[in-house]
Every structure is written in structure tokens, then in C-alpha cells.
């Protein structure tokens, strides 16, 4: 990819990231949103994160078929417990990476 290709891609990504961050601040700073919208929006982060994780943890992504018990899922259990106890984002990432790295040695 050339400089212009990257600029177009990252510029586009930046724009679609910036607009949802900016629009509510710009327009809603003086207005009140309806309660149903606030309640519904508050559930979106959980739903998106689970949707992103689901195929990684429960499917064989090359064959696009169900797979229970892959290393990604097994490592997720202690990683989740660590996140719950520590409340640390950086720490959880390091623990998850370390455990996943170790399972790589056990499998091969």
C-alpha cells in the first residue's frame, strides 16, 4: 500500500471514530436525551464486546464451524478472573498474552 492508500484508510477510520465521539458533545451538551435511548445505549458496549469475542472463543474461524474448548477459550477463563480481581486493563492484557504464549508450548 502507498502513502495515499494508508492516508485514505486511516483518515476514513479516524473520521468515523471522531464523529460518534464529537456529535453528542456538540449537540447534547445543553439538551437531555430520552431515558429509553440512554438505557438502550448503555447496553451497547457489553453487547458489542461479547459479539466481537464470540467467534474468537467458540468457533474455528478458518472453517467457520462451532468449536468448544479451543485454547483461546481456556485462556479466557483465568484472564476473566484476573480482570475481575485486579480491575487493571494493562495487567489483564499481559496475563492473557502470557498464558496464551504458554499454551502454545504445551500444545506443540
Amino acid at each position: 500500500m502507498t502513502f495515499v492508500d494508508y492516508l485514505f484508510l486511516f483518515g476514513g477510520m479516524g473520521l468515523v471514530t471522531y464523529i460518534p465521539r464529537w456529535l453528542p458533545l456538540f449537540y447534547l451538551a445543553h439538551r437531555k436525551m430520552p431515558q429509553w435511548l440512554i438505557d438502550w445505549l448503555s447496553l451497547i458496549p457489553v453487547a458489542i464486546l461479547t459479539a466481537l469475542l464470540a467467534p474468537i472463543l467458540f468457533t474455528d474461524q478458518a472453517a467457520r464451524s462451532l468449536e468448544i474448548g479451543k485454547p483461546e477459550l481456556l485462556v479466557a477463563i483465568p484472564t476473566l478472573i484476573f480482570a475481575l480481581k485486579s480491575k487493571s486493563l494493562g495487567g489483564t492484557v499481559l496475563v492473557g498474552m502470557g498464558l496464551y504464549w504458554l499454551t502454545g508450548f504445551m500444545v506443540s
Binding site: T17, L89, G96
Partner: protein, 218 residues
């Protein structure tokens, strides 16, 4: 001082992202450009994975939009604490709204002893840590074997942590479980990446009606 835990949290994630990007053949200057223009950890990981898989520019931008739409809610909540502030300030402030800076700033705003200049300082320091650590990762990437240190799992671990931090009560847990089931089925039967938006909108709607039902029964 408040920004320190965020910066510290960004360093391993940023390094991992930089390493993965460099192994996917993305040059270091492009990684710096991406971090400065986008400044969104999870979307950048997804972008690297999609570029490595040969995805089109359009589908990467659409997925970024879907994944980062959650900031809409965060920005809406922050708006309550920034009412009456000049729009020029808000334009700059919006750029720095991330999951982590939102969590820190919201907690401080609620506690009361927090101002907009302190909040934007947190945002900017976090941004600096992010750009520097992703660039360092990209420069180091060529010296690190593919898959070493579990870098492939960095994104998954970050999602798991962010998910745990979001589970405020039982409704959130049910929403997550609904999203999980819908996403797996959608992913298995419908080709493409529509499962992300499809499962999250359906699950949030189910969660919303569960919440309404629970409130009516009280």
C-alpha cells in the same frame, strides 16, 4: 497523576499492536499515522487483522465505525459535565474520548473535584503514550518472531477486560449472554461481518426489554 494508570495500561497494548502491525507488513510511519488519526485501540487491532486478511478499505472503515459507535454513549454521558463549555474546546476534547479516559474522567467528574482542563490533560497524555508505544512496537516488531509472547492474544485479552469492567448488574450479564448466543449463530450461518452489528443491536434490545420488565414488576 490520574493519567498515569491509563498510560501504563496503554504501553503493553500499544507495543503488542505495533508488533502485530509490523508483522502484517505495515511500516512504522503508517502505524504512527494510524495511532494519531484514529486513536482507538480495539479498532486498530481489528484493522491490522483485516489488512493481513486482505480486506477492503471500505469494510475496514465500516467495521471501525461499528466498533467505535460505543463512544457515542460515553460522549453523551460526558456532555452532562461539559454543558456550557465553548464548542472549540469540545471539538478537541471529543478526539480523546476512549474507554479508559472515559472511565477515569467520569469517575472524577462524579466525585466533583474535577475540571475540564484536568480532563483534557488526561486525554492528551493518554494519546501521547498510545502514539509512542505503538510506534515503538512497530520498530521492535521485526526483531520479534511471529506469535512470540502471546501477542496474538492481546486484543482478545483487552476485550475480556473491557467486558468485565462493563458488567454493572444482572441485566448487563444477560445482555452479554444473549449477544454471545446470537453472535455465534449469526457468525456460523451468515457470511461476512454483519454478526457484530446484528448481534449487538438485537442483544441490547433484548436487554432493554428485560430491564423494562424488571422495573414493571417492582
Amino acid at each position: 497523576m490520574t493519567a498515569w494508570p491509563i498510560c501504563f495500561g496503554y504501553i503493553p497494548i500499544g507495543l503488542a499492536l505495533g508488533v502485530l502491525a509490523s508483522q502484517a507488513g505495515i511500516p512504522a510511519w503508517a502505524v504512527t499515522m494510524m495511532s494519531a488519526l484514529v486513536f482507538a485501540g480495539s479498532a486498530q487491532f481489528i484493522c491490522v487483522a483485516m489488512l493481513a486478511a486482505g480486506a477492503s478499505t471500505g469494510s475496514i472503515i465500516f467495521t471501525t465505525f461499528a466498533v467505535n459507535l460505543r463512544h457515542f454513549l460515553m460522549s453523551s454521558s460526558l456532555a452532562v459535565h461539559l454543558s456550557g463549555v465553548r464548542r472549540l474546546f469540545l471539538n478537541f476534547f471529543a478526539y480523546g474520548i476512549t474507554d479508559e479516559s472515559f472511565a477515569v474522567n467520569m469517575t472524577r467528574f462524579r466525585a466533583g473535584n474535577w475540571g475540564r482542563w484536568q480532563a483534557i490533560t488526561v486525554n492528551q497524555l493518554a494519546n501521547l503514550a498510545w502514539v509512542v508505544s505503538t510506534t515503538c512496537g512497530a520498530l521492535l516488531g521485526q526483531f520479534i518472531p511471529v506469535g512470540a509472547f502471546g501477542t496474538d492474544y492481546a486484543l482478545t485479552a483487552m476485550f475480556l477486560a473491557l467486558l468485565i469492567f462493563q458488567l454493572h448488574d444482572i441485566i448487563f450479564i444477560f445482555t452479554g449472554l444473549a449477544s454471545l448466543c446470537i453472535a455465534v449463530l449469526w457468525y456460523l450461518f451468515i457470511p461476512g461481518d454483519s454478526y457484530i452489528i446484528g448481534a449487538s443491536i438485537s442483544a441490547a434490545t433484548i436487554g432493554y426489554f428485560l430491564k423494562r420488565y424488571r422495573e414493571k414488576r417492582r
